[in-house]
């Protein structure tokens, strides 16, 4: 999956000054983007993730550090070179940003028209792309007549019109309902797999990450606090920010239960085994499930389950012995640790 490096952030920092004082949006960001991958940057709002994305096409300039695109320092490009480079990157937005006075076909044709392609050629290419995003029946509709999901499909077709190598997705599904989000994510996945376009995805929604991404960078307060494969992140989130994103209910649980806890981590196959039944039947211990969550990543199930450990030590021992036998990874949670 991972190819050659396509872009890189080297020690990038950015500070915004406002009336309330200075806000450090990004500090010392190092991040590589590889050709063909889907990299997500996730974090709470205000973490600086959109600022980071917008530096890749220089809608935002870095105060310190360099942003490299295919061995070129983006900050050193002339306006004309920058515009040529921007053609190699498509961008889609949370609020679509379609031209209300242009119909669907002409919206998709716009980037080519802006670069001097004749209107007919641009429209022919636009029609092909609308076919790709399943909107060939809506070419003469105007954006106001479309649903949110359809608008984002138009925006995706438009972003693809200059045959980009990279697609920047800035909260692209955040304004959509869950079902529409799913179909847009499927489309993005298809674009990555079939056209080989690299995706840089910024989102605050964990299901976007688990659905389409290969690697994920967790951002908090201008820093990247965790950068791993999506599988690893779900198996064992290390940073507080990642745990909060994966288990938003965690804090609640901490307050409601004070006993010793057993955290089971299972991946792929073992999630499908009747583990709880085994504990009840073989170890003969009644089980109290405090929390369970599983995610499907690339057709395998990864999950975590949190059990209350019985106060009876021999009963607890029986459970642990059973887990050892089954070869499951587990950990005993300290009471003060949040899940």
């Amino acid at each position: 999956m991972q190819g050659k490096q396509i872009a890189e952030f080297k020690n990038v920092s950015k500070t915004f000054s406002s009336k309330e004082g200075e806000v450090r949006a990004l500090s010392g960001i190092d991040l590589q983007l590889y050709r063909g991958e889907i990299l997500a940057v996730i974090g709470p709002s205000g973490a600086g993730k959109s600022t980071l994305l917008r530096m890749l096409n220089r809608l935002e300039e870095a105060d310190e550090g360099t942003v490299i695109w295919q061995d070129q320092d983006l900050g050193k490009l002339s306006p004309a070179e920058l515009n040529a480079t921007r053609r190699k990157m498509g961008m889609i937005f949370q609020h679509f940003n379609l031209l209300a006075q242009r119909n669907v076909l002409d919206n998709v044709a716009l980037p080519l028209e802006l670069h001097g392609t004749s209107r007919d050629k641009a429209r022919a290419k636009a029609a092909e792309l609308l076919d790709l995003v399943d909107l060939s029946g809506k070419t003469s509709a105007y954006p106001a007549q479309l649903s949110g999901g359809q608008k984002q499909r138009v925006a995706i077709a438009r972003a693809l019109s200059t045959d980009p190598e990279l697609l920047l997705c800035d909260e692209a599904t955040s304004a959509l309902d869950p079902a529409t989000t799913h179909s847009i994510l499927e489309l993005l996945k298809k674009i990555n797999r079939e056209l080989g376009i690299t995706l840089f995805v910024v989102t605050h929604e964990m299901h976007v990450v688990e659905h389409i991404c290969d690697r994920v960078a967790v951002m908090d307060d201008g820093h990247i606090v965790e950068l791993r494969s999506v599988k690893d992140l779900f198996k064992n989130p290390r940073s507080a920010a990642a745990r909060k994103l994966i288990y938003p209910q965690g804090e609640l649980l901490k307050r409601s239960y004070n006993g010793a806890r057993l955290r089971l981590v299972f991946d792929g196959l073992s999630a499908e085994e009747p583990l709880i039944s085994k504990i009840v039947l073989e170890a003969k211990v009644p089980v109290n499930i405090l929390y369970a969550d599983s995610k499907n990543i690339e057709d395998k199930t990864y999950g975590q389950m949190l059990l209350a450990l019985p106060d009876d030590e021999t009963a607890a021992e029986r459970i642990l012995a059973l887990l050892e036998r089954e070869g499951l990874s587990y950990s005993l949670d300290e009471e003060e640790e949040s899940i």
Binding site: G90, Q101, L114
Partner: protein
């Protein structure tokens, strides 16, 4: 004045008023649109921020906008004579009308341009568009319905000013109201000219609103 002599006089006045208004509006837009595009794109946070130029343009626009029309009309008479050779009649009224309306039109156009969603400009930037294409392919077409609405307001305002020009030697309905109403106490004739002006304003405003609504795809 009896109705049979009044009708040709009013007809003549109506044509003069329309000619003055339309010609002035056309020239005001020819000057006002480029000024608006400059004001819009050189503003802080604009497409090509140029703070000093923007400040100077703003000051000039505001000064021209703040001179009362009747004073401007008299003040620039030498300039008017230089341009059209006379200070009396319909062509002479067009000069002060244009000078007064152009900065007004520029402000109207600028405010229409500012209504265009910043997200669209950002999207166009992300496509690698230069400033000229952003202005002519994105900003102006997206602002068109608002520009037309603004246009009908500008034209009706110019129409109102053109009647003032009638008081100092310009022609049109304003001159009729002045000559018959003020100097001859012919209130009936004055009343009729006012009615005609009201009808004209209504027609222009309604046509502008209807056209804007028709072409707006939002």
């Amino acid at each position: 004045m009896d109705i049979n002599t009044l009708i040709p006089v009013l007809w003549q006045g109506l044509l003069e008023t329309l000619a003055m208004t339309i010609a002035s509006a056309v020239f005001a837009y020819i000057l006002g649109i480029p000024l608006a595009l400059l004001l819009y794109s050189t503003a802080p946070g604009g497409l090509t921020p140029k703070p000093v130029l923007n400040r100077i343009l703003n000051i000039i626009t505001n000064i021209l906008r703040s001179i009362p029309f009747l004073i401007l009309l008299i003040w620039i008479m030498p300039f008017t004579r230089f341009i059209v050779g006379t200070t009396i009649g319909t062509p002479a009224a067009i000069v002060p009308l244009v000078i007064s309306a152009a900065p007004y039109v520029a402000r109207m156009v600028e405010s229409s341009l500012l209504e265009v969603d910043g997200g669209l400009i950002e999207a166009a930037c992300s496509m690698g568009a230069d400033t000229k294409s952003i202005l002519f392919k994105v900003v102006l077409p997206e602002a068109l319905p608002s520009l037309i609405l603004g246009g009908s307001i500008a034209v009706t305002t110019i129409l109102g000013y053109s009647t003032m020009a009638g008081f100092v030697g310009g022609g049109g309905l304003g001159a009729i109201a002045n000559n018959y109403g003020l100097f001859r106490y012919d209130y009936f004739t004055m009343f009729i000219t006012v009615i005609l002006i009201v009808i004209l304003v209504q027609i222009i405003q309604a046509a502008g609103s209807r056209l804007a609504l028709k072409i707006d795809k939002r």
